[in-house]
């Protein structure tokens, strides 16, 4: 066994995985309408390549990537494009975002595909390219386009692929089920990724609260000596990329640098599984596994869901939510998840869970009180920051002070607020400070722009004045020389 290094801080929230861990993956019945936001990934939104009224087949490209960091979108099912317009985004803001609205026809008619070559006969570039063309993004919630990560990592000389099956967020069990039920496919996807990276080994990291998944994955990778399954001690946030890299290698991603600087590249199991589907079956990323759970959900489940299905569809299939009990409706886990503005929002590529939590589960009963400087937040911060000092500065609106204390290193994991006995919502102060700093930067850019314009104007005036003066001087000189000439003539 490999020696693990561990990481600093962290907390032990109750896993609550038992609510859904024993429920096998079920397919959500196809909803009549799907809402596919154009922005489901980090980077620029995709550009639609279909028009309203157009019929599309399942898996057909409906929006292409735009710019270097972007990802294309494909039709999650066959049907007709009803409209391209704004729709509520899966985000607390509830702001409308552009989306493609698809009326499904229930036929599930796949796009015709050519026979696929063996992925190992392709060049690493081609594999990465196909991963990108399949619209695959990081499925653990980071949403970063996978192909971009793969090519950059190969150039950086990454030697180890880390397949992240830690799933440290409470409640969420989609990766657990995926590993238990589709282990062979994940191992195959891992081999394909290794080929794309030209890397010699892969480590599959799983928290030890998933012993079945660990066993099944170990059995599945027995044939491949390059792949090793590691059991991590369960502690949030063990599955965060930076902490995972530290646990496995003892190395730290330099502040402001890239994870690949350490020679390790982290991909979520869901991402690796999608790569398998794309390269073996030519299927782009059009569905994903979502855990529907929480104390306010009648029957927690793990569902395979076409992208664009509404949260309402998922909740209905799980027996609905007890509305009077439901204190929070979240997309993602309780530690980092986004509160949803309503249930009429679509599932996107990075949606790993839909949670309806009761007030008791969400820890909502307490109002916050003044900081007692107990240092718990400092102790649990995996990034070694001083959350209490940062929030104090934010409270006094000293945004630069917050920045100087390492705001950019904070990954909003929420450990500090989870442990704070004064119930101070620390990450919210940080989010607020981030917004203010971004605003300041924008203002600064604007004022430098204006200053530049002013300077240009000033320079133009000066130039004109100088030109005038020079012209006048020339005229004078010419007159003088003429006078001299006249004098000379006189001689």
């Amino acid at each position: 066994m490999m020696r693990l290094h561990g990481f600093r801080g962290g907390v032990h929230p109750p896993g609550q995985k038992h609510l859904s861990a024993e429920r096998p993956i079920e397919s959500l019945p196809l909803p009549p309408r799907l809402y596919i936001p154009l922005q489901q990934h980090a980077g620029a939104p995709a550009l639609p390549v279909v028009t309203a009224g157009q019929r599309v087949a399942k898996g057909e490209l409906i929006a292409r990537e735009h710019g270097v960091t972007s990802a294309p979108l494909h039709a999650p099912s066959s049907g007709t494009v009803a409209a391209i317009g704004d729709f509520t985004a899966p985000h607390a803001s509830g702001l409308p975002l552009p989306a493609i609205i698809l009326d499904t026809d229930g036929e599930e008619r796949w796009i015709e595909s050519k026979p696929l070559p063996d992925p190992f006969s392709l060049s690493p570039e081609e594999v990465a390219c196909q991963v990108g063309a399949a619209g695959i993004v990081g499925m653990g919630g980071a949403n970063f386009p996978a192909a971009v990560k793969l090519s950059k990592a190969r150039q950086a000389g990454v030697h180890t692929l880390v397949v992240n099956g830690a799933e440290c967020e409470p409640y969420v069990t989609c990766d657990d089920r995926l590993m238990r039920e589709r282990a062979e496919a994940i191992i195959d996807g891992t081999a394909i990724m290794l080929h794309a990276l030209q890397a010699p080994r892969a480590l599959i990291a799983i928290e030890d609260n998933k012993p079945e998944a660990i066993q099944i994955m170990r059995d599945a990778c027995r044939q491949d000596a390059r792949i090793e399954v590691l059991s991590l001690a369960s502690r949030y946030p063990a599955g965060s990329a930076k902490q995972l890299i530290q646990s496995l290698s003892g190395l730290e991603t330099p502040s402001g640098g890239r994870g690949t600087d350490t020679g390790l590249l982290v991909h979520n199991v869901g991402t690796v599984y999608s790569a398998h589907r794309a390269l073996r079956y030519g299927q782009p990323l059009i569905s994903r596994i979502v855990t529907v759970s929480g104390g306010a959900v009648a029957e927690p489940r793990n569902l395979e869901v076409p992208l664009g299905a509404l949260v309402a569809d998922l909740l209905n299939y799980c027996g609905g939510i007890a509305r009077e009990d439901c204190a929070r409706l979240l997309m993602g886990g309780p530690m980092m998840g986004q509160p949803l503005p309503g249930i009429e929002v679509p599932v996107i590529k990075g949606t790993n869970g839909i949670l309806a939590l009761t007030a008791a589960e969400a820890g909502e009963a307490h109002p916050s009180s003044p900081c007692i400087r107990c240092g718990r937040c400092v102790e649990v911060c995996p990034m070694g920051l001083l959350p209490l000092e940062m929030s104090k500065r934010a409270h006094h609106e000293d945004w630069l002070g917050v920045q100087s204390l390492g705001l950019s290193d904070c990954m909003s994991c929420g450990s500090c607020a989870y442990a704070c006995p004064s119930h101070i919502p620390l990450p919210q102060y940080f989010a607020f400070a981030r917004g203010k700093l971004a605003e300041q930067r924008r203002e600064e850019r604007k004022s430098t722009h204006i200053r530049a314009l002013m300077e240009q104007r000033q320079a133009r005036f000066e130039r004109q004045a100088r030109a005038k003066a020079e012209a006048a001087a020339k005229r004078k000189a010419a007159k003088k020389s003429r006078a001299v000439m006249v004098e000379e003539d006189d001689e």
Partner: protein, 373 residues
């Protein structure tokens, strides 16, 4: 701030709260408190009640004046704890006004003028104790021999009230010096410790607390048990008590080894006075101690060294309150210089490049292992 605190992650909490934290500390103090009340009878209990009531009253009054929630402020338990801690450190038969003045000073001058819970620089109870020691040296150093409840020497309830409120004159034989005080007086008279201590100090009694001293500080064992329970409950961290006690232990051992007639032995230091209470319940006060573990070690060492220095060379036989207050003042500085190293950064806060050697080692580390289990 326009942040809506209900909007963001995390949507989970470990369930601990300030009032629970204070509650656990109070519970841990209960054995020593009960023991003190039994050992010194009704007057001690009266003093405890008065001190606590004054603290609660002042806290409520200040919160009301400041227009803050009185209920929330009182319910967090910090004023109650301040009252108990202060009472435990007072001479058990001190008159009522010592408790009243001390309690009022602790809450008003020690805490509320700074802005209330979490804002104070000094531990309020210790600040009040220092003030009382300086202002009322006679009352603050009239130490009583044990007068346990139900024994013949115990005062009745009425006599107890007389002690607390009336003019009670101590007769000879009722009072005596604490061990530390006695050793100090003898040393001043140039008596070696080998003659001074026998008859006055027995380690066993000192450990149990069958001796004269402050209301709740005599029983080192009960306080230690309470402190260990707090550690187990994770209500306090081990760094401060461990650093403080071991510093005293080391200093006392070294000096005692050099000159046993002049310097008391380390066990005497550990078992007497307020050291145990100070190490587990006072120096660990979250508000006035450093937040980072490494800073807490420094803080604990500082407290321990100051306690030993004041006890040995200072003007008072006991130095825990002074040491705590002095180190409280240094805590912000310690916090500034001793903070954790951030992930991916050097100790100086610069981005920390991945060392090439470590990177290579990480690349090959698998070869040394035995492969999949």
């Amino acid at each position: 701030m326009k942040v809506n605190p209900l909007a963001g992650a995390p949507h989970a909490h470990d369930g601990d709260s300030v009032s629970r934290l204070m509650g656990r500390v109070l519970l841990a103090l209960l054995p020593a408190t009960v023991y003190g009340a039994v050992l010194f009878g009704w007057p001690a209990l009266n003093l405890l009640v008065i001190t606590v009531l004054v603290c609660l009253g002042c806290e409520a009054g200040c919160l009301w004046l400041a227009g803050r929630s009185v209920r929330q402020g009182i319910m967090d338990g910090s004023a109650l704890l301040t009252g108990v801690l202060l009472a435990l450190s007072l001479p058990p038969w001190a008159p009522w006004w010592i408790g009243a003045i001390g309690g009022g000073f602790a809450i008003v001058a020690g805490k509320q003028v700074f802005g209330g819970t979490g804002q104070n620089i000094f531990n309020p109870a210790m600040l009040a104790r220092v003030m009382l020691l300086v202002s009322f040296p006679v009352e603050m150093t009239t130490w009583l021999e044990p007068h346990p409840w139900l024994s013949g020497s115990a005062p009745s309830f009425l006599e107890g009230l007389q002690v607390t409120f009336g003019h009670f004159t101590f007769t000879d034989g009722m009072t005596g010096a604490t061990i530390l005080g006695h050793a100090r007086t003898e040393l001043v008279m140039n008596h070696p410790l080998s003659q001074a201590l026998p008859g006055h100090y027995q380690p066993g009694f000192a450990a149990i607390g069958w001796t004269g001293g402050s209301l709740g500080e005599t029983s080192a064992v009960l306080i230690l048990l309470g402190g260990l329970w707090l550690l187990w409950q994770r209500a306090i961290t081990w760094e401060i008590p461990a650093a403080m006690l071991s510093t005293v232990l080391v200093l006392a051992s070294v000096f005692h080894w050099v000159n046993p007639e002049r310097f008391a032995d380390p066990v005497l230091h550990l078992l007497s006075g307020s050291l145990m209470l100070g190490a587990f319940f006072i120096a660990t006060d979250p508000v006035t101690s450093p937040v980072a573990r490494i800073g807490q070690v420094v803080f604990g060492i500082g407290c321990g060294a100051l306690v030993y220095i004041i006890r040995t060379w200072g003007g008072y036989p006991e130095g825990v309150a002074f040491a705590a207050v002095l180190m409280n003042a240094a805590a912000p500085l310690i916090d500034h210089y001793f903070r954790p190293r951030a992930y991916g950064r050097t100790w100086r806060g610069q981005p920390r490049p991945v060392p090439e050697r470590a990177k290579k080692r990480a690349a090959v580390s698998r070869d040394s292992g035995s492969g999949p289990a």
